[in-house]
C-alpha cells in the first residue's frame, strides 16, 4: 500500500487521532515526516530507473570493450626476419626465368634450410620439426609470389620478413606465458628459447596484418582472413536487396493505396505481422526445404542465402514503407488527382518520391539486420569450410556472421582474436549502415 493511500485510509477511519471531523494540521511534524517519506520514495523510484538504464549501458560498454580488447591485436601479426639465399639450384636450375618452373620450386625447403642455418645447434628430426613451426606454412607462398614478381632475386641473399606460426604470434603478443610450465602451453621450452633468441637478434617484429583483410578462410589462424566471407556477405545482401526492396515497396504501395478492405487484404496484413515475429531459424528450415530439397538450388550459395533472407527482411521493409507512405499527406494525392493524374501516376510521380527517404531508411535497417543474421544461413549449408573467395552468386560461400561463428568454434587460441576482429569489422559495417539510415532520416525528414 502506498503512503498516500494509507494516509487517506487513516483519515477515513473515525476514532483514530486523525479523525476527519477534526481538521488536519498540515504543519504538524507528523505530516511533514510523511511528506518527506513520500518524496524519498519518489527519489528512490527515479533512481531505480536511472540505475536500470546505466546497467544496460554498462553491459553494452562491457560487450564493446571485451570485443575490442580481445580483437585489436589481430590487426597486427608477428613476422620473423630471415636471411634467405635464393638458391638458383633450388629455384630455377636452368635459369629459364619461366614462371611455371619458379612456381614448382620448393620454397618451403628453402625456408627450412635457412632456419637450420640460423640455428645450427638444432638437430634431430622432432626438434627440427618443432623449429620449422616458427615460420607459418603460408610463408613459402609469399616467397614464391615475391620471386615470381621479381626473378632477379634468384641467386641473391636478402633479408625477408616471413609470417610466423600462430603459436609464436600468441607468444609474442603475450597470450602464451613464456615463464609457465611447459606442459601447460602449446610451445615447448626449446621453441620458446629459439623464439627468444630471434627476438634478441631483433629479427621479430609485429607488422600490419594485411592478409586478415585480403585472405579467405583457412585452418591456420595466421593465414585466415575475412575477405571471402565479406564477398559472400556482399553477394547475399545484393540478392536480398534485389528481391525484397521491389517486392516490399510494391506490397506496401498496394496495401496503403490500392487495396480494398476485404478478406484478402486482412489476410495479408495478419501474415505480415506474424512473419515479422517468426524466429529466424524457421526461415532457415523453409529455405532448406523449398530452395534446396524442392528446387535443387546449389547448397551454400549466396543465391539461396539471399532468397531466404529476402523473405525475412520483407516484413521489415513493408512495415517501414507503409509508415512512410502513410506519412505523405492526403492533400498531395488530392492535388495530383485533381489535375487529372491517374491513381498510379499519383503514386509513382508524387507519393513514392516523397516517401522514398522513409522507405530507404527502413530498407537499410532491414539490410543491416540481414547482414547480421546467422541462424537461417546455418540451415542452408553456408557453414561449410570454404577457402576460395566466391566469384558469383552460385559459388559456395560463407558470410561474415557465419565466419565469426565458425572461428568462435575453433580451438586455437589465435582464433579468439581473429573472431573478435571479425566482429569489429561486422559491427563497423552495421554502424556505417545504420549511421547512413539516421543521416537519411535527419536530412530528408519533413514536417507537413
Amino acid at each position: 500500500m502506498t503512503d498516500m493511500a494509507s494516509l487517506m485510509e487513516d483519515r477515513a477511519k473515525p476514532g483514530t487521532p486523525k479523525d476527519p471531523r477534526k481538521p488536519v494540521n498540515w504543519d504538524s511534524p507528523d505530516i511533514a515526516r510523511r511528506i518527506k517519506k513520500r518524496y524519498g520514495a519518489d527519489r528512490r523510484f527515479k533512481m531505480y530507473g536511472l540505475v536500470a538504464i546505466l546497467m544496460a549501458l554498462a553491459a553494452l560498454l562491457t560487450l564493446g570493450t571485451s570485443i575490442v580488447s580481445k580483437g585489436y591485436t589481430a590487426f597486427f601479426h608477428t613476422y620473423v626476419e630471415l636471411e634467405i639465399f635464393f638458391d638458383p639450384a633450388e629455384i630455377d636450375p636452368d635459369r629459364t626465368n619461366d614462371p611455371a618452373v619458379i612456381g614448382r620450386a620448393n620454397f618451403d625447403g628453402l625456408i627450412k634450410q635457412n632456419l637450420r642455418n640460423h640455428f645450427p645447434d638444432v638437430t634431430g628430426r622432432s626438434e627440427l620439426r618443432q623449429l620449422y613451426d616458427v615460420i607459418s606454412g603460408g610463408a613459402s607462398y609469399d616467397l614464391r609470389t615475391r620471386v615470381m614478381e621479381n626473378p632477379s632475386l634468384i641467386g641473391e641473399t636478402r633479408k625477408v620478413w616471413l609470417i610466423s606460426g600462430d603459436d609464436f604470434d600468441m607468444l609474442n603478443k603475450g597470450f602464451i606465458d613464456a615463464g609457465g610450465e611447459e606442459a601447460s602451453r602449446r610451445l615447448s621450452d626449446a621453441q620458446v628459447g629459439w623464439f627468444q633468441r630471434l627476438v634478441a637478434d631483433g629479427a621479430v617484429e609485429k607488422q600490419f596484418h594485411k592478409r586478415f583483410f585480403t585472405g579467405g578462410d583457412s585452418r591456420e589462424p595466421e593465414l585466415a582472413g575475412i575477405w571471402g566471407a565479406a564477398v559472400g556477405s556482399f553477394y547475399t545482401l545484393i540478392i536480398t536487396l534485389l528481391l525484397s526492396f521491389p517486392i516490399g515497396v510494391a506490397a506496401a504501395v498496394y496495401l496503403e493505396e490500392f487495396a480494398p478492405r476485404n478478406r484478402f487484404t486482412y489476410l495479408v496484413e495478419v501474415n505480415i505481422n506474424n512473419l515479422a515475429a517468426v524466429p529466424s531459424i524457421v526461415f532457415g528450415l523453409l529455405g532448406l526445404e523449398v530452395y534446396l530439397n524442392l528446387m535443387h538450388l546449389p547448397r551454400s550459395a549466396p543465391l539461396v542465402g539471399g532468397l531466404t533472407l529476402a523473405l525475412m527482411t520483407l516484413p521489415t521493409i513493408i512495415i517501414a514503407s507503409r509508415a512512410a507512405i502513410k506519412a505523405v499527406p492526403p492533400s498531395i494525392r488530392q492535388a495530383a488527382l485533381g489535375l487529372g493524374a491517374s491513381k498510379v501516376q499519383t503514386v509513382t510521380h508524387h507519393v513514392l518520391p516523397l516517401a522514398m527517404p522513409g522507405i530507404l531508411t527502413g530498407t537499410i535497417i532491414g539490410m543491416a539486420q540481414a547482414l547480421g543474421e546467422t541462424a537461417p544461413l546455418l540451415m542452408i549449408g553456408m557453414v561449410a569450410f570454404i577457402v576460395d573467395v566466391p566469384g558469383g552468386v552460385t559459388d559456395p560461400a560463407t558470410v561474415l556472421p557465419v565466419q565469426i561463428y565458425l572461428w568462435a568454434d575453433s580451438p586455437e587460441r589465435a582464433f579468439v582474436e581473429k573472431t573478435s576482429a571479425a566482429i569489429m569489422v561486422l559491427l563497423g559495417f552495421l554502424i556505417l549502415m545504420n549511421g547512413f539510415a539516421v543521416y537519411l532520416r535527419k536530412k530528408f525528414e519533413r514536417k507537413w
Binding site: I67, Y254, A277, P279, L286, N293, L294, M295, D409
Partner: protein, 460 residues
C-alpha cells in the same frame, strides 16, 4: 548460361520492345500525341511488360523445376542396386554431379555407369540451358508481337499498364501469405514423415532426448529417444532467466525515459539502448561463451559452487541483455499512450510522480505491458545463436541455472548442420521441433497482439 546473363537478356528485350511500342504509337499518332488515348510512354511500357513478364515467368518456372526433373531423369537410368538405398543414391548423385562438372578427377576409377551418368548429366544440363534460352526468347517475342499488333490509336494503353501494375503489386503482397504457407507446408511435410517413425505422443510427452540413431543396422548405438520435454524445460529455463533480466531493467528504463528523463538525456540514452537491439546475435553468443560464462564459472568456484562452463545462466543473462531494448521500447509505447488526463487527475489529488506511475499509469498500461513481455518471450524462445554458442548440447531436465541445458533451437541447428539424411528420424525430428517452435511463437504473438490491440482500442 548464368542467371545474370538471362536477366540481362530479358532487360535488353524489354528495352527493345519499349522502343518498338513507343515508335509504333508515335507513328500512329501522326505527330500529334493528342490523337492517342494514352501517352506514347504507356504504349512502350505496355509492350515491354508483355515481352518481359512471360520471359521472366518462364525463367523462374524453369529454374524451379529444372533440378528436380534432371535428377529424376538421371535416377531413372541408374541401376536398381544404386537407387534402392537412399544413402547410396545421394552419394552416387554427388559423384555424378562432380563428374559432370569435370571436377571428379579422384573418381576416375568410379563405376562406368556413374561416369556415363555424369556425362549424361552434363549433356542434359547444356541441353536444358540451351532450351531455356530458346523458350524464353520465344515467349518474349510472342508477347512482343501480340502486344505490338494490339496497339491502335484508341487502345487504352495507360489503363492496361495500370491494371497490370496493380496485379503485380497484389502478387507482391500475396508473397507474405505465400511464405507463411510455405513455412507451414515445409514444416508439416517433414514432420508428418517424422511422425510415421516416432509416435507424436512420444515426441510431445517423452522425457528423454537423445537423437543419436544407428546409421547401419549392425552398429551398436542407442535406439534414439525423441521426447521434447527436456528441450522445452531447457528453453523455458533460459527464457525465464532472460526475462528476469530484461523485464525489470527494460520496464524501469522505459519509465525513466518516458517520465523522468530530460530531453537531452533521452536523446543520448535512447539510441544507445537501441544499439543493444542492433548487435548481431552471433556477437552476443561470442560474448556469452567467452566472457560471461568463464566469469560466472570463476565467481561460482570462488563461492564453492560447481558451475558448468555452458551454464544456462550465462546464456540467459546475455539473452536478457539482448531483449532489454525490445521490452523497453514496447512498454514505452504503451505507457505513453495512457491519456494525459489520467496523469493530471492523479497529480491534482496531490500524488507524487512515482505514486502516479505506480498507481495510475502502470495499472492502466498493464495489459499492453503484458503483451510486450509475451512478445519478448516469443523472441527469446526462438533465439538461436546465443544458445547455440553458449548453451550445452546434452538434454538435462533441471531447473538449476548453473548447469548446462539445451534448447529447441540448439537441437535444430545441431541436427541440421552437417550431414542430413531426409529418411532418418534424426534429421526429420528437426522439422518437428521447428513446427512446434513455429506454433508456440505464433500462438504467443497472436495472443500478445490481441491484448495490445484490445488495450489500444480502450483509449482511442
Amino acid at each position: 548460361m548464368s542467371l545474370t546473363f538471362l536477366l540481362l537478356a530479358i532487360a535488353l528485350l524489354c528495352a527493345l520492345s519499349f522502343f518498338f511500342g513507343r515508335q509504333r504509337a508515335v507513328g500512329l499518332s501522326g505527330g500529334r500525341y493528342s490523337n492517342l488515348h494514352s501517352l506514347p510512354v504507356h504504349y512502350g511500357v505496355y509492350t515491354a511488360l508483355w515481352c518481359g513478364l512471360p520471359a521472366l515467368f518462364i525463367v523462374m518456372v524453369w529454374y524451379g523445376f529444372q533440378g528436380t526433373i534432371i535428377q529424376a531423369l538421371i535416377v531413372a537410368d541408374l541401376p536398381d542396386s544404386l537407387t534402392s538405398d537412399p544413402g547410396q543414391l545421394s552419394l552416387a548423385l554427388n559423384s555424378i554431379g562432380l563428374l559432370s562438372e569435370g571436377r571428379g578427377a579422384h573418381l576416375a576409377g568410379a563405376a562406368p555407369e556413374l561416369i556415363d551418368a555424369g556425362r549424361r548429366l552434363a549433356n542434359l544440363k547444356s541441353i536444358a540451358s540451351g532450351a531455356l534460352v530458346v523458350v524464353m526468347v520465344c515467349g518474349a517475342l510472342l508477347g512482343l508481337i501480340f502486344s505490338y499488333r494490339k496497339i491502335t490509336k484508341d487502345m487504352r494503353a495507360r489503363n492496361n499498364v495500370e491494371r497490370i501494375a496493380r496485379g503485380l503489386m497484389m502478387i507482391c503482397s500475396a508473397i507474405a501469405i505465400l511464405s507463411t504457407v510455405g513455412i507451414v507446408f515445409s514444416l508439416m511435410f517433414e514432420s508428418l514423415q517424422f511422425f510415421t517413425k516416432i509416435s507424436p505422443l512420444d515426441f510431445l510427452f517423452g522425457l528423454e532426448w537423445s537423437p543419436q540413431t544407428a546409421i547401419r543396422a549392425d552398429q551398436v548405438a542407442s535406439e534414439g529417444a525423441f521426447g521434447m520435454i527436456p528441450l522445452f524445460v531447457g528453453t523455458l529455463l533460459i527464457t525465464f532467466i532472460a526475462m528476469c533480466v530484461a523485464v525489470p531493467v527494460g520496464l524501469f528504463s522505459a519509465i525513466y525515459m518516458g517520465e523522468y528523463a530530460s530531453p537531452k538525456f533521452r536523446a543520448v540514452a535512447k539510441p544507445a539502448l537501441e544499439i543493444l537491439a542492433g548487435v548481431p546475435t552471433v556477437v552476443y553468443g561470442f560474448f556469452a561463451a567467452l566472457t560471461v560464462a568463464p566469469f560466472i564459472r570463476n565467481q561460482g568456484s570462488l563461492l564453492g559452487l560447481d558451475v558448468s562452463s555452458e551454464s544456462a545462466l550465462a546464456a540467459g543473462l546475455v539473452m536478457g541483455l539482448m531483449i532489454i531494448p525490445f521490452v523497453s521500447s514496447l512498454s514505452d509505447d504503451v505507457m505513453s499512450q495512457v491519456p494525459q488526463s489520467l496523469r493530471d487527475g492523479s497529480y491534482g489529488l496531490g500524488a507524487t510522480k512515482s505514486e502516479t506511475i505506480r498507481n495510475v499509469i502502470f495499472p492502466a498500461a498493464l495489459p499492453g505491458i503484458v503483451g510486450a513481455v509475451l512478445l519478448a518471450v516469443s523472441r527469446a524462445v526462438g533465439e538461436t545463436m546465443i544458445v547455440v554458442m553458449a548453451a550445452g548440447l546434452a538434454a538435462n531436465m533441471t531447473a538449476n541455472p548453473l548447469q548446462a541445458v539445451t534448447t529447441v533451437t540448439v537441437q535444430i541447428v545441431t541436427l541440421l548442420v552437417g550431414d542430413q539424411e531426409f529418411d532418418s528420424a534424426k534429421t526429420l525430428s528437426a522439422f518437428a521441433l521447428g513446427l512446434v517452435l513455429f506454433l508456440v511463437t505464433l500462438g504467443l504473438n497472436v495472443f500478445a497482439l490481441k491484448i495490445v490491440k484490445k488495450y489500444r482500442e480502450k483509449y482511442d
